[in-house]
Amino acid sequence: MFAGFPLLSLVIWVPILAGLLVLATGSDRNAALARWVALLGAVAGFAVSIPLYTQFDTLNVGMQFTEMRPWIETFNVHYHLGVDGISVLFILLTSFTTVLVVLAGWKVIQKNVAQYMAAFLIMSGLMNGVFAALDAILFYVFWEAMLIPMFIAIGVWGGPNRVYASIKFFLYTLLGSLLMLVAFIYLYNQSGGSFEILEYHKMPLAMVPQILIFMAFFMAFAVKIPMWPVHTWLPDAHVEAPTGGSVVLAAIMLKLGAYGFLRFSLPIAPDASHALSGFMITLSLIAVVYIGLVALAQGDMKKLIAYSSISHMGFVTLGFFIFNAYGMEGALVQMISHGFISAALFLCVGVMYDRVHSRQIADYGGVASKMPMFAAFFMLFAMANSGLPGTSGFVGEFMVIMGALQANFWYAFLAATTLIFGAAYTLWMYKRVVFGNVTNEHVEHMQDISGREFLILALLAIAVLGMGVYPLPFTEVMHGSVNNLLAHVAQSKL
């Protein structure tokens, strides 16, 4: 029934148009209206993305729901959209997260409400565009454009050091992206004038260009993921961003970098990917182990979760570059699972921050006695973050470790240390914040979560547990595309 229906365009443009509509509600006098319009827009955005999953043909490894129209003839650029098993889940994740973000900012945001909601709705549409674009310039436009609302979101509604964080965030990502643009232009010239990504997948390339292209993409995607040592923007951005900003950053923006590796680096430069896999695995393992230790030392909860994200994303890149089905599927599961868990953890910190206005672990203690319901949710997400079996955090990590074991025992050994470090930093933080005696008078006056907060956390809890117990609905979608990609990467392009 959806054949030929421009579903992907809807998924991109419904949130963007809703965002513009929210902007049109004007000043803070109409804040309530802005909130409701935003919620409707976000729900509508999620609703139009559901058919992508239900109508998805798991046996088809190619692109589905494709749309193609000429856009800029001078450069042979097309408005070309399509999803495969790798990207479709991220579109759902993005649309789902947007609903949560709108709900999370319902009460907290009192200044420029319409602009806040609009920024996140527009960002959601642009991120969907990144996942759906099959034309390099279209991809680049979405990729860069989404920086603008994020920059504004961090800068306007962020913490005390927000200006530094927002500019650092923007310039860091811009540098990487522009090098990627140079690579696109190179590929355009080489391919005789095409910006089609799928065309690039088939294009033969010599080793030296492949290495250079790989490095250019690496600059763009490694910054976004972020991989060690270009990760330093993330803790700053996370700490200063409003809760919604942190959620979107952790749940989706980081995934864009990882997605970029799958869509560009691996299939366009497979030989370079193999040649540089040692380098990539080393960086990934450094992220897993070293950043895990760094997380242990943090006194700021948001910073701790930010470092934990970097460490978990190290798992993802590790999974990609060991080139087997376990690793890659595990990495994808890990990406989605981390999308839920990190969003949930940032929302939990947001819940506490709204009440006490502090993110310092030292300012808390004994939260469980005042907010038992909240403490239970927080417990679940903390456990999921440390990879407890039965939660989604376990599935991805386990699969990646299995994959790593096939490749090299020591990779698996080092990666497995995360099960110890991850548990250590998450649970230690949880213990200090939630248990113990109430030492702070602000904590004394904390109210347990409201119905709205309960709804947000409950949705995420269902997702985390559901994916942990029965991951098949997620893995079966990606299975065909992952095998296809692995087969493609195994062929030399030289």
Partner: protein, 481 residues
């Protein structure tokens, strides 16, 4: 050659403009200050009629007039139309500003029209002397315009600097042209090109002349190391004049480079490519890095202009049709952005208050979310961030340069634009992240407000659908060379 009307047809817009400007000059003497709007109206009407004449005399191919001294081709028609448009926008943006500052007199309009005549001659010149005459007509009017606020010491100083350096550059240019004449025996653009193509005896002299010509061109474009006048003139001149200098003359400068280097000295492309490369790299580096240190917005935009002109050269030095049309696209986009940003400075200025410091943009989002958003679009476009049109301008020149094999240059350009992004972001930071220092309401006249909105949204709309303008530039270049 016989003087028939058909010979004059390609020159009709210029002839009309000359007559109209002379008429306005005399007409203005007989009206009182409160009827000055008539002068303004006549100026806009003149622009409209010029546009109509240009469109109705437009030819598919290339037509020569005055024994080949003057050329009418699609490129010149399109560039002239853009010049009319930008001068007209300048007039709308400036009206209130000059009214409040005692410059709302006939001189402003007449000088602007004569300057525009100079630009049109530069755009259509097919002879080194015609080019030079057009350039001088433009420059002399601009010197006078900068000094129009005669009691302002900064403006007078800026005019003096502009004049002295400009005269020097003109001298260099003439000297270079004389050498080319000495070697080839021609001043006609096509004949010079043909003579070089056939091979000349004394190539050293020709290269020597080329160096002087490139220096003169570089001065007019304002690229490093011939950029010294730009910051002082941009800052010192009344903002209305800065807006004028920063917009339409860039289009004329583009045509100037096309006629001189690309058409006339085409045979020496390998010689000037290297020179332009050095100029481009230096401009992008000096322009972007120095802009960071500025606190005066006009001065900052002056340095930003320098870096943009460096980018413009990337298209030229790729030496291909695609590169030239990329440059043309770049210059038109740049003019659109430049009009908007300087227009915004005037929009925020009031009687006795110039919104020319970065500080003055603080908290604009709270004073006027709409104009803050327009400025945001303009700034992201200047920085080359999609979905604004500035991105496609950068994309097209980078593509041309990479195709010509200048990989290192492209990477340098990309790094410089990251540096450049910083100071554009800083303006957005001031507008959105900071609290306002000045709480006066932003209430422009309705036509100014409307045009500013069109300007800002135009940057976005062209960014979403850049194809028409790109196709227009490609058409102009392909049918004129």
């Amino acid at each position: 050659m016989s003087f028939t009307l058909s010979n004059l047809l390609p020159v009709l817009p210029e002839v009309f403009l000359l007559a109209a400007a002379s008429f306005i000059l005399i007409f203005d003497l007989f009206i009182s200050d409160k009827n000055r709007f008539l002068t303004y109206g006549l100026t806009q009407l003149t622009l409209l009629i010029c546009a109509w004449l240009t469109v109705s005399t437009a030819q598919q191919g290339v037509v020569y007039a005055f024994s080949g001294m003057f050329v009418d081709d699609p490129m010149s028609d399109i560039l002239k139309l853009m010049v009319y448009l930008s001068v007209s926008v300048v007039m709308v943006y400036s009206r209130e500003y000059i009214q409040l500052r005692g410059m709302y007199r006939g001189e402003f309009f007449v000088l602007a029209l004569f300057a525009m005549l100079g630009m049109m001659i530069m755009i259509s010149a097919n002879h080194f002397l015609t080019l030079y005459l057009g350039l001088e007509l433009l420059s002399l009017c601009l010197y006078a315009l900068v000094a129009l606020q005669r009691d302002s010491a900064v403006a007078t100083e800026a005019a003096m600097k502009y004049f002295v350096l400009g005269a020097l550059a003109s001298g260099m240019l003439l000297y270079g042209m004389s050498m080319v004449y000495g070697v080839t025996g021609h001043l006609d653009v096509n004949k010079v090109a043909a003579a070089i193509q056939q091979g000349v005896e004394n190539r050293t002299v020709l290269v020597f002349g080329l160096v002087f010509i490139v220096a003169g061109v570089a001065f007019k474009l304002g690229v490093v190391p011939f950029h010294m006048w730009i910051p002082d003139v941009y800052q010192g001149a009344p903002t209305a004049v800065t807006l004028f200098i920063g917009s339409a003359p860039k289009i004329a400068a583009f045509a100037f480079v096309m006629r001189l280097l690309v058409q006339g000295l085409e045979g020496m492309v390998h010689d000037w490519q290297g020179m332009l490369m050095i100029l481009a790299v230096l401009s992008m580096a000096v322009g972007n890095i120095t802009a960071i240190a500025q606190t005066n917005l006009k001065r900052m935009l002056a340095y930003s202009t320098i870096s943009h002109m460096g980018f413009l050269l990337l298209g030229f030095l790729s030496g291909s049709l695609g590169g030239y049309s990329a440059s043309m696209f770049y210059v038109l986009v740049y003019v659109l952005m430049s009009l908007g940003t300087f227009g915004m400075i005037m929009l925020l200025s009031r009687q006795g208050f110039e919104a020319e410091n970065l500080e003055d943009f603080k908290g604009l989002n709270q004073r006027s979310p709409w104009y803050a958003f327009m400025m945001l679009l303009l700034m992201f476009s200047m920085a080359g961030v999609p979905p604004t049109v500035g991105f496609y301008a950068k994309l097209s020149v980078l593509q041309a340069a990479l195709q010509a094999g200048y990989t290192g240059l492209v990477i340098a350009a990309v790094l410089m634009s990251v540096i450049g992004a910083f100071y554009y972001l800083r303006i957005i930071k001031l507008m959105y992240f900071d609290a306002p220092k000045d709480t006066a309401p932003v209430k422009p006249e309705s036509d100014v407000g409307l045009l500013m909105s069109a300007n800002g949204l135009g940057v976005l709309a062209l960014g979403i659908l850049p194809q028409p303008l790109m196709a227009l530039c490609a058409y102009a270049i392909h049918h004129s060379l």
